[in-house]
Symmetry: C2
């Protein structure tokens, strides 16, 4: 059965389209995991990840697994049974943080705001001081609602009560500036398959020495590798695969054997980070995405559609559009995908059936993709009885691109 991959224009909040140069990187031959030719690539990836997170953290490396493997590795390594974990929740990925902290045995305290809004940082800081958690786990880019939570002040505040700040930046990574050191964030998890435009299955993370010192207290050297009783902590991390203290030994000059690192996902990560950090520049990338997002958003408004949520706090790499009254959102999505090969997303929980989510993450944030999408989307809506001002929208967007290019 031969593999048949059709051409798709993917405009979801992930997994996203990948630059063909990144895809080609995956087709290289395998290198052994301790081959100096490969460990050099691993080291370069660490350096790229540091640059992407604007951090000096030595501990900047990828986890071999989906984004939630990265989240779980970080949360599971720091949260011991009974530890208090504060989770401000504004959407589905806040729920995920609750879920992961609970599985780690944490005592979870939540605070909530309506889906489509964000928290005032002062409210979070007040709660931090009240609860005095061991860990604050917060989502930066909440794709379920398309909101971007301001987080520049909470890291310092958490530190004053001895708390560690963990940020789920899976969807905001490479979409918006995240100066990890300046914001005093202890551990941050990025995503490969969002604005970095790399294939899913590998997840860049970074954490500081303060975080590292804390999790080292739970270090358990593997059975068969331990040389003394003192190598085995009683309060050890309940995962081996996602135990950051073991991964630190693997991703350091010690190169202690742990798992076999995913060769080709390190290749694609390398190429995608090289394109973002070196070729394009991260600020240029942020700029490109938000410009495309602004144009698409205005185009959708001109069509006659409504944008969902608090526009002052939206993610700059996606648009959440309200599904017009009486329109079957999933039917429109199915037509787009099956007939036109264009994919947009629905959402979760209370948002299901209420919004479409259109991604402008990484590679797809380009003029021709935006124009193709807008014209196809307008046609499909019109064909399905939605009144849209196609000419008005396309005129405006074409003019906007004209200005952008001159």
């Amino acid at each position: 059965m031969s593999l048949e991959i059709t051409d798709r224009q993917i405009m979801t909040p992930g997994p996203t389209m990948v630059d063909p140069r990144v895809s080609q990187a995956a087709s290289n031959a395998i290198l052994g995991q301790f081959d100096p030719a490969f460990t050099q690539i691993m080291n370069e990836n660490m350096d790229f990840i540091r640059k992407a997170f604007q951090t000096k953290n030595y501990w900047s490396f990828p986890i071999d697994g989906a984004s939630r493997a990265g989240l779980e590795a970080v949360i599971n390594s720091i949260v011991s049974p009974g530890d208090k974990v504060l989770v401000p929740r504004m959407g589905r990925f806040g729920d995920l943080a609750v879920e992961l902290a609970t599985r780690a045995g944490g005592k979870v305290i939540t605070m909530d705001t309506d889906w489509g809004t964000v928290f005032n940082q002062e409210d979070i800081i007040k709660k931090i001081n009240e609860v005095k958690p061991k860990v604050l786990a917060i989502v930066h880019g909440e794709t379920s609602t398309g909101r971007l939570q301001p987080i520049d002040k909470i890291g310092a505040a958490a530190k004053t009560v001895g708390a560690f700040t963990i940020v789920d930046a899976v969807a905001s990574f490479m979409g918006v500036s995240i100066p990890v050191d300046d914001w005093e964030l202890d551990a941050v998890i990025g995503g490969a398959q969002k604005s970095l435009s790399a294939p899913a299955g590998i997840t860049p993370i970074t954490f500081n020495e303060r975080f590292a010192d804390e999790i080292k207290l739970r270090k358990r050297v593997e059975a068969g590798v331990a040389t003394s009783e003192s190598d085995i902590s009683e309060n050890y991390i309940n995962s081996n695969y996602l135990d950051l203290t073991q991964l630190m030994d693997y991703w350091s000059p010690a190169r202690l054997n742990h798992h076999t690192e995913s060769t080709i996902l390190n290749y694609t990560l390398h190429e995608a980070l090289s394109l973002a950090v070196e070729n394009e520049g991260i600020f240029e990338r942020f700029n490109r995405q938000i410009k495309q997002q602004q144009i698409l958003k205005e185009g959708l408004k001109k069509l006659g559609l409504k944008i969902f949520g608090d526009e002052d706090h939206e993610m700059p790499n996606m648009v959440a559009v309200e599904i017009p009254e009486g329109v079957a959102g999933d039917k429109i999505r199915a037509i787009l995908l099956n007939d036109y090969g264009v994919e947009i997303a629905s959402s979760f929980g209370p948002m299901a059936g209420r919004i479409w989510r259109v991604g402008l993450m990484g590679y797809v944030a380009q003029k021709h993709y935006v124009l193709r999408f807008l014209s196809i989307f307008a046609s499909v809506l019109a064909q399905n009885g939605v009144k849209v001002n196609t000419a008005l929208a396309l005129n405006w967007v074409t003019e906007a691109y004209h200005e952008l290019e001159n």
Copy 2:
């Protein structure tokens, strides 16, 4: 920094060389995780995995992570705190089973045999009856010593005391026949980067309904997805990412959102399994590997080297060679890798410095690779003062290939 991949002849027990057709599969464009074009590939992968394991198990799918992620998913999902886990241990990967079962909270009972030997199944069965464990976790192909543990009788025996049999077949998968249903094995973990010759980072597993029914008792529907208190088990699995009950919902028509499946590793898995199951045939592959292994082994003997361990129970896809007295094994390996681009492996723990491990897994099990390796290896040994009968060995091997081909 552009990605530079040098050419290596990898003859380790993994990660192994990959057929260029498999590498090319990785360079295809991304598909969304719920795109029917992608879920079809997922379904085909399930079917390929069933064929590879000679099983009717519906639950046959890959885990997004290294082999030990597959092992941890299986062990963690079935072992609750306090459960008795019996681990017969004959090498480093037995230690890993101990480690994983311990982290899951299991009460581990081990039995040991000298490294380089295997267990008599009757002894294991006696211990099963004595200990009456909930889980028997055993390694099939123990690459640290190169031994293949017979396991055709233990599954049925374990079942009589209500135990579940878990087999680490990471290194034996696609190297030797594993009729999962006939042998009554409850859960088996294969490897991508061994005899399947696929890139590392994804791990095929299979488990039966008996196993599925047991782990379902621990099912916890994710916070934010759960609709009632009854969706949340008290004795839930401590991982979310590696929770098989959630992965079952993702890898079934329910297609419940969990993580974003690794697109390109599903492509490579598809191509590698298609080549093994359809193009070559699994029994033909087993046959090809053992023939190459027999020839290489005899060639190494003719050179004057000694083969390590019990030859009646060796893995058919690798050779464990004793490092001659006084020879610095790692120095020879470094010369082979750095000067010739040929990689072989050392081993772990008590085997370190005592044996070299030469893999004949999947793609590399071909005449020209064996001949290249043997002549280079002989030359390097000779150059480093080891007395070897190069002409004798190469004459014998050349003649053996002549017979094989006629």
